[in-house]
C-alpha cells in the first residue's frame, strides 16, 4: 500500500482548495464590480430619460403660457391669464428639478442659465404684450412688435432646449450601448467562472473520493496486518517497542508485557520500568546498546537476561534501529525475542556434542592403545618364533615343523590385522590437512609400493590422466594403494591382471545415485579389473569393517582395506561404489568433488 502517494495527494488537494478559494474571491469581486457598473449604467439611462422628460415638460409649460396669453389678448378675459401664472410656477419648479439633475454637467448648467435668461425675457414679453392689449385703444403696431419679439425669444428657447435634448439623447445612446455591453458580458463571464469552479470541485471531489478509498483500503490492510503481527508476536515469542526520541514517548506492544509475565499495560512504558526486569549484570549491555543505536544510527543486536515478574529467568535477544519518519522525527524501533528455548536447546546440544566428542576420543584412544599394546606381545611371539626357527628348527620333528609354520602364519596374520586396524584408526582421526595435490603422483607412489607384487603377477596398470585436487594426500595414496592391492590380490590364477584406471569430470545431476547437489561437479575415477569379481548382492557389504567374501586361508585379506577406502572417501565428501561380476571382474568407482 502506497501511503506516501496518498500523503502527497493531500498536499495536492490543499493546493486545489487554495486555488479554488482565490477563484471564488476573484469571482465575487468581479461580479460585484459588474453589478455596480450595471446599476450605474441603469441609473445613468434613467437620468437621461428624466432630463429629457423634464425638458419636454418645460417646453410644454411655455406653450401653455403662450396659449393663455393669446387667449387673453383675443378675449380680454382675465381667466386666460390664469394659465400664465401657473405655467410660471411650474416652469420654476421644472427648472429646479433640471438644475438638480444636471448639477454635475457644466455644459447643461451653462445652457440652463441661458435658458433661464431667455425664459425670463419671454415672460417679460408675454406680460408686456398682455398689458399692451389692455390699453385702449390698442396700439396695434407696438403690440405686434412685442409679440413678434416674444416669438423670436421663443424660437431661441426652442433651439436651446433642443440642443439640450440632443446632448442628452447622444449621452443616452452612449450609456445605452455601455449598459447593453455590461448586460451582455456579465452573465457569460459569471457563467464561465461558475462552470470552471464547478469543474474544480468535481475534480477535487473525485480525487478526495479516490484517496478516501485508498486510505480505507490502507486502513483495512493495517488492521489486518496489526492483527497478524500480534498473533505472530505471540507465536514467535517476540515483541516490539517504539520510542519517539523527540517527545521521549515510549510504546510497548502487548506481547512485551506478556513476555515479562505481566498483564498488558499494567505498568507505564518507560525505559526505567523496562530496565527493572533486566538481570542486574546485563543492564549495562542494554544501556550501551541503546546509546550506540541512537548515536551511530546503526542496527544493533544485544543478548541479555530478563527476570520475569514471577522470578523466572529468560534469555532475550533484541535488535534496535533508528528510523526517520516523513516529518524528520527520529524513532527508535526495538524488536525483542525470547530465545530461552533456543538457548536451552543450544546448551543441551553443546553438552551432547561434548559427550560425543569425549566418546569419540575415548574410542579412538582405545583403538590406538589396543592396537599398540597388542603389538608388543605379538612382536615378542614373532621374535621368539624367529629365534626358535633359527636355532632349533633343524631338530624339530616333521609334525612339529608343520605346527610351527601354522603358529608363524597365525602370528603374521595377527600382525596384518593390527596394522590394518591402525590404518583404519588413522583414517578415522581428525588430522585432515587438505593440500592441492596431483593425483597422478599419488597413484604412481601407490604403484611403487606394490611394485614387487605387480612384477610377480606381471600385472598391467593402464592409467588415464588424473586431476589435481584438494585432498589429504596420504589418505588418497592409501586409497589408491588399497584398490590396486585389492585387484592384485583377488586376481585369477594364471591370468595376468589388467587394471584400468579411468577418469572423467561429471555433473551430479547425471548420476542420481549421488546424494549431492545437482550442479556439483565430481571427478569420477574407476578402477576396473579382470579378476575374480564378486556377486553384485555383496556390493555394499564389502565396505563394512571385517566383512570378507573369501575364506581366510584362501586370501590374506583382513576385511579392513575397503572399510578404510570408504572412510577416506567420506573424509573427502565423495562417494565410492562397487560393481562386480563373478569371474569376470570388479569395478570400483570413486566420485571426488572438484
Amino acid at each position: 500500500m502506497n501511503l506516501r502517494g496518498t500523503f502527497n495527494s493531500s498536499t495536492f488537494l490543499k493546493s486545489i482548495f487554495v486555488a479554488a478559494l482565490f477563484v471564488f474571491i476573484y469571482i465575487s469581486s468581479v461580479s460585484y464590480k459588474h453589478s455596480v457598473s450595471l446599476s450605474k449604467s441603469t441609473e445613468l439611462v434613467v437620468h437621461s430619460h428624466k432630463v429629457h422628460i423634464e425638458l419636454e415638460q418645460l417646453m410644454s409649460y411655455l406653450k401653455d403660457a403662450e396659449t393663455g396669453q393669446r387667449g387673453f389678448i383675443i378675449t380680454q378675459d382675465s381667466m386666460y391669464l390664469q394659465p400664465l401664472v401657473i405655467a410660471r410656477k411650474k416652469i420654476n419648479r421644472s427648472f429646479k428639478i433640471l438644475k438638480q439633475l444636471t448639477k454635475d454637467n457644466l455644459y447643461h448648467k451653462k445652457n440652463l442659465d441661458t435658458l433661464s435668461h431667455l425664459i425670463n425675457i419671454r415672460f417679460t414679453f408675454l406680460e408686456i404684450s398682455a398689458k399692451l392689449s389692455l390699453v385702449t385703444p390698442v396700439n396695434k403696431r407696438i403690440l405686434d412688435k412685442t409679440i413678434l419679439k416674444g416669438k423670436g425669444v421663443m424660437d431661441n428657447i426652442r433651439v436651446e432646449i433642443n440642443k439640450m435634448i440632443d446632448l442628452e439623447m447622444s449621452n443616452l445612446k452612449i450609456r445605452q450601448t455601455k449598459y447593453e455591453d455590461d448586460a451582455y458580458f456579465t452573465p457569460i463571464f459569471m457563467l464561465s467562472l461558475v462552470l470552471f469552479s464547478l469543474l474544480v470541485f468535481v475534480i477535487s471531489y473525485i480525487k478526495i473520493n479516490k484517496d478516501l478509498v485508498t486510505l480505507q483500503k490502507a486502513n483495512q490492510e493495517l488492521i489486518i496486518n496489526n492483527a497478524a503481527f500480534k498473533q505472530a508476536e505471540i507465536l514467535g515469542d517476540f515483541c516490539y517497542t517504539r520510542w519517539d526520541l523527540k517527545t521521549n514517548k515510549l510504546i510497548y506492544s502487548d506481547n512485551l508485557y506478556n513476555l515479562l509475565g505481566c498483564e498488558p499495560h499494567s505498568f507505564e512504558p518507560t525505559v526505567e520500568n523496562f530496565i527493572k526486569f533486566i538481570h542486574p549484570e546485563d543492564r549495562n549491555i542494554v544501556a550501551t546498546g541503546a546509546e550506540n543505536v541512537i548515536s551511530n544510527d546503526m542496527v544493533y543486536i544485544r543478548h541479555y537476561r530478563i527476570i520475569r515478574k514471577d522470578g523466572e529467568l529468560r534469555y532475550f535477544k533484541s535488535l534496535g534501529k533508528i528510523i526517520t519518519d516523513d516529518e524528520g522525527n527520529k524513532i527508535h524501533i526495538g524488536i525483542g525475542k525470547d530465545i530461552t528455548q533456543n538457548q536451552l536447546d543450544n546448551l543441551a546440544l553443546k553438552e551432547k556434542n561434548r559427550e560425543l566428542e569425549q566418546n569419540n576420543a575415548e574410542l579412538a584412544s582405545f583403538n590406538h592403545i589396543a592396537s599398540h599394546d597388542l603389538q608388543e606381545p605379538l612382536r615378542k611371539i614373532q621374535l621368539f618364533i624367529s629365534r626358535i626357527d633359527d636355532q632349533e628348527g633343524h631338530t624339530m620333528s616333521e609334525k612339529g615343523k608343520e605346527y610351527f609354520v601354522k603358529i608363524q602364519n597365525a602370528a603374521n596374520r595377527m600382525r596384518t590385522l593390527i596394522d590394518d586396524l591402525l590404518l583404519f584408526s588413522r583414517a578415522n582421526k581428525a588430522e585432515k590437512t587438505f593440500e592441492i595435490t596431483d593425483l597422478n603422483l599419488l597413484i604412481e607412489q601407490a604403484q611403487q609400493e606394490l611394485i614387487e607384487t605387480i612384477d610377480e603377477k606381471k600385472a598391467q596398470i593402464l592409467t588415464d590422466q588424473l586431476p589435481v585436487l584438494n585432498v589429504i594426500p596420504f589418505q588418497i595414496q592409501q586409497l589408491f594403494l588399497n584398490l590396486i592391492g585389492n585387484s592384485l590380490k583377488y586376481s585369477k590364477a594364471n591370468v595376468a591382471p589388467i587394471i584400468k584406471i579411468s577418469c572423467e569430470k561429471i555433473v551430479a545431476q547425471d548420476y542420481p545415485i549421488l546424494k549431492a547437489d545437482d550442479k556439483k561437479t565430481f571427478f569420477k575415477i574407476s578402477f576396473a579389473d579382470n579378476g575374480l569379481g564378486f556377486d553384485q548382492q555383496y556390493a555394499e557389504s564389502i565396505f563394512i569393517l571385517f566383512q570378507r567374501l573369501h575364506q581366510s586361508n584362501q586370501y590374506s585379506g583382513t576385511g579392513i582395506g575397503l572399510a578404510i577406502c570408504k572412510k577416506i572417501i567420506e573424509n573427502h565428501a565423495g562417494f565410492i561404489y562397487a560393481e562386480g561380476q563373478p569371474s569376470i571382474g570388479a569395478t570400483f568407482t570413486l566420485f571426488l568433488p572438484e
Binding site: 590406538h368 599398540h372 608388543e376 612382536r379 621374535l383 618364533i385 624367529s386 633359527d390 600382525r415
Partner: protein, 148 residues
C-alpha cells in the same frame, strides 16, 4: 675392524628385549661393549655419573614406566656433557606423533623394533656403523625413520 670397542647403552624396561638385544649385538662381528638400564631414572643416573664412560650410541625405548623415553631425551639434550651423544629411538610404536616429537627433540634416528631376529641384527649393525657426524648433518624428517 676397529680397535676401540664401540660403547652401546640400551634403556628398556622389558627384560626379554634387553636380552635379545644383547644376543643380537653379540652375534654381530663388531667390537662392542653393551650396557643396559631398566628405566628412565636409572638411565639419567648412569649418564650423570662423571666416572662413567659416555656411550657412542644410546638406544632409547619410549614406553617406559615413570620417566618415559621422551622425558629422558628432553633431559639429556639439556645437559651440555650429554647433548652430543647419538640417540637412536628404539620403540614398538611407529605413530606419527612419536616420530614427529622425538625428531623435534633432537633424536638422531628412529627404529621400529623388528619382528624377527635377523632383521634386528641387520638394523643394529646398520645403526652402530653409522658415521654419526655425517648422518647428523644430512638428517631430515624423511630419513629419520630407519627403513629396513
Amino acid at each position: 675392524m676397529q680397535n676401540e670397542p664401540i660403547h652401546v647403552l640400551l634403556a628398556d624396561d622389558d627384560e626379554d628385549d634387553r636380552n635379545i638385544f644383547i644376543d643380537a649385538l653379540n652375534e654381530l662381528k663388531i667390537n662392542t661393549v653393551v650396557q643396559t638400564v631398566k628405566d628412565g631414572q636409572e638411565l639419567i643416573d648412569h649418564l650423570t655419573q662423571d666416572n662413567n664412560l659416555l656411550p657412542h650410541v644410546l638406544f632409547l625405548d619410549l614406553n617406559m614406566p615413570c620417566k618415559t623415553g621422551l622425558d629422558c631425551l628432553i633431559e639429556i639434550k639439556r645437559i651440555d656433557r650429554l647433548k652430543d651423544v647419538a640417540i637412536a629411538i628404539y620403540s614398538t610404536s611407529s605413530s606419527e606423533k612419536d616420530i614427529e616429537e622425538t625428531f623435534i627433540r633432537g633424536a638422531n634416528v628412529y627404529i621400529k623394533k623388528p619382528n624377527n631376529f635377523s632383521s634386528l641384527k641387520k638394523v643394529l649393525s646398520q645403526v652402530i656403523t653409522i658415521n654419526w657426524q655425517y648422518h647428523t648433518s644430512g638428517l631430515n624428517r624423511d630419513n629419520f625413520l630407519l627403513s629396513l
